[in-house]
Each structure stands twice: as C-alpha cells, then as structure tokens.
Subunit: 249 residues, 2 copies
Amino acid sequence: MPKETFFNLSPEKRSHILETAISEFAERSYTGFSITHMVTRAGIAKGSFYQYFENKLDLYRYLLLNVWVERKTSFLKSRLPPSGDGFFGAVRHLLLTGIAFGLSQPRMAAMFRPVLSPWAGDEELGALQQETLAYQRASFLNLIEQGQAQGQVRRDLNLETAADLLMAITRDGIDRAMSRIMGMTLVELCARPKRAAEFDEEDRAALVDEVVDLLRRWLGVSAGAPAETAGGGIDIDALADTRPVREGP
Amino acid sequence: MPKETFFNLSPEKRSHILETAISEFAERSYTGFSITHMVTRAGIAKGSFYQYFENKLDLYRYLLLNVWVERKTSFLKSRLPPSGDGFFGAVRHLLLTGIAFGLSQPRMAAMFRPVLSPWAGDEELGALQQETLAYQRASFLNLIEQGQAQGQVRRDLNLETAADLLMAITRDGIDRAMSRIMGMTLVELCARPKRAAEFDEEDRAALVDEVVDLLRRWLGVSAGAPAETAGGGIDIDALADTRPVREGP
DNA sequence: TAGTCATGTGACCAGGCAGTCACGTGACCG
DNA sequence: CGGTCACGTGACTGCCTGGTCACATGACTA
C-alpha cells in the first residue's frame, strides 16, 4: 500500500504519476518497468518515488486492487444488465460490457494481463496472480450455479472443470478473437487507441453472439425441458476480478 | 540459427548446454534468463557461448523451432491415433497425447508458454510469437474443416471465430484445469516432475472427456443428421505448433 | 620443428538497475 | 525571528547485465 505522503499529494499530481506508471507498465510490462525510467518520464525525482511507494510491486498492487477495481466496478454499475433476457442474455450483456471496458482501458488491460491470465510470468507476481485467479474462479463458479438455480444451465456438469473452460472461453477465447479481428495486440492498441473504434458494435455483437451460442449449446438445458425464464438476471459481483478493496488512508 | 562451431561440438556437450539452457529458461523465463548465469551453470566460458550462438534469442529460437518441434513430432508419431473412432475420437486422442507430451517435457512447456499463448510479454519475442500463433491458427482451422469434410462438424460456423475458441478451450482451458487439479503451476511442476504422476490416466481421461463433450455439443452435427462415421481420422500435421524446420548444418 | 587454424577463456567495458541518504526548500507556528 | 516538520532532490553505491577481445590451448599439417 502506498505511503501517507502519496495520499497527501494534490489529486492532479497523484493522477499524473499513476497515469504515467500505467503507460509504462503497459508499454514495457512488469519486468521491463524501470523506476528510474518512469520517474524521469513523470518529471519527479527518484527519491520522491520512494516517499510514495515501497517499491515497484507496491505500485502495481495498488493499481490493480484499487484503481482498476474502482474503474471497473463503476463502469459495470453504469451499464446494468437488462433483466428479463434470461441467464444467457445476462451473460451476453456481461461479455459485451467486459469488452467495452477493456477497450476503454487498453493500457490497464495490457498491464494486468499476466495477473488475470494463468501465465506464471514474473515470479514476483506469483502470489498476486494466484490470489486473483482464485477469486475469479470463485466468481465463475458462482455464475454457473446461478444459472443452474434458474433452471437454465444443466446440472450434470463437473462444476470445477466447467469453471475453467468457461474462463478460457470468455477470457482467453475472446482475447484471441479480438486480437485477430483488430489485427493487433493489446499493447499495439495502446499506441493507437482510436483503432478500437474499428472493432465496432456490430463486430462485437457478432463475436459475443458466437460465444453465447457456444455456451447455450454446451451449458443450456436440453430442448424440451421446462424453460424457467422467470427472473434470469445475474449477481453483478460475479463479474469482479478481485475482492473489493477499500481506498487507502 | 546457431553457428557452425556449435554443431562441431560433441553430442554430449551440445546436449549438456541445451539442457542447461532449457532449465534456465523454464526457471527464470525468457526475460529473466541471463547468459552470464547460464554459462556459469553449464560450466563453460561466456566467450564460448558467443561462439555457438548469436545471442539469447538465437538460442531460444533454435530450441523452439528445432528441439521442441523434433521432440513433439517424434512423440506424436509414436502414438498414432486409432482410426475408427470418428472425428471427435481422434480429437480426444490428440488432446490426451498433447497432455502427455506436456507433462513429459514440463520445462519446455513452461519456457515456450509465452510464445504458444497469445500473451504479448517480451517485446523481443513478438515476431516469433506472431509467426507461431498464425501457424497454430491455420492448423486448428484445418482441423475444423476436416471435421466438416467428414460430416461430423456442423457447417453453420464462423470458421475464424471457431478456431479462436477452439484454441482457447483446448490450450488455455486445459492449462487452467491442469493447474487447478495438480495444485501447482507449470514452473513448480518442473521442480517436482514426479508430481506429474499424481495427475494420472484416469484424471486426464476425465478432463479430456469433459472437453470433448463440450466440443461435441458445440460443433457436432445435430442428432438425426446423417452420421457419416466413415474414416474419421485426422491429419497429423494439424497438431503441429510451428512449421516444420530442418536441422542446422 | 614451425606454422596454421579452430576452439576455449575470463578480464574488461559500458550501460542500466534498485535503493539510499545527506542536503535543499518552503510552509507553518510559537 | 528561529525552529520544526513534511516534502523534494539527484548524486552515489553496489550489483548485474550483454558483449568484446587479446590471448591460451592443443590438434593437425607441411
């Protein structure tokens, strides 16, 4: 957690430092991130950095557990799922919202990829990654169970394996497809954020519809079973990447 | 490509250097790999390294495009798929074989993850990764088309998207599930390779069956359609990660 | 024996890094 | 006015890195 000194800074300066750090992390990855380089770019002295943060990991953790979480939850709350579309309709909305958020924050999406994906990467991030993945898994498990409770997801599933595959499809699969469709990686997108518009609403809907179609065929109760379409929303907490955390002192 | 000097070495010394390099790459990742550290561990002088290889990337490329490919193709050829199980039976065998190979080569599986997964990671690997991913995508597309030609995979699919999702399910999904079941990451498995046995044949079959069940529901022609079970094998080239490459001079 | 050539070697150089610390600055207070 | 306190600063240390290069070694040849 950052030191008190950091929170005594003016909001503008604080934000300036964080934005610079986000850019650096996105462009150079966690390992490539150099404190020396970042402070030069931000126009502050290296000594100041150590009056704000313990070290690189402290800064990264703060960006993940506070900044990212805060932005994501507020984004999601501004686009609440329409109720009445049933479970898969809610999932569809969830995926579309997730894509929109990622495109609106490409730098953060890029810098947190190693910790939101099951890729070991930097040893230093191991603990953080394990914690985050565990929380995501729990969220996805919860999601499937909600679908079952609503009678729209079959019950003869191995829940644990289903959660793994569901994560792979909705995270890795969509990532892969987006990279292909946009013809660039996430890091390249950061350099040209306007290109995100080329992947327009129509393309996004087409992709998500393919994915939801897969999910319906895989998870949906077989045709002919009692379709219990009543309700059918999903708990918004199921979308979170990490346990909600409070702002620092 | 390594220099001539390297290929003039005795097979034992050559192999010793490569094995040391593989361990170092697996334990410290590409960015963390230090030539200085590796040569010390291998017991050779740093000057010698530069008489064998151009630099770190040269060594890494060679390990991927030659050593890995060679071992994988020979492994796959030693376990040819039984014909007669139809398309999904062949896919099942493919997945089981892939898992067995990965567990038999955990260090290489770990060191090549960034280049076989759509994770940008080290800028230096960007070109190599792009090339490899493109080749894999082509293989998966080919696989789906074979299934369609055999009448066992539905034709109303967006092929491109289907390939992305198929890759996510069979690579990322299985990776995620294996990490969960074994309770450790790939890197940790390298330190205790005997633990691979705890993920026994039965567990593997259970996991793969879940995945194949998903694929059947998603891709399979709807029940009642003409089941053209004739033939049903798959071309073994569809399994490759990279374009086949010849051994150096 | 003298010479040639491929190979082996490690001290050395320049550059980048994280983290420290003695000092500078300026606002506020008694 | 002097003193205190929070914050800002950048030179400095110690470490590790990739890559080079002048020299050593030893086999083989004329």
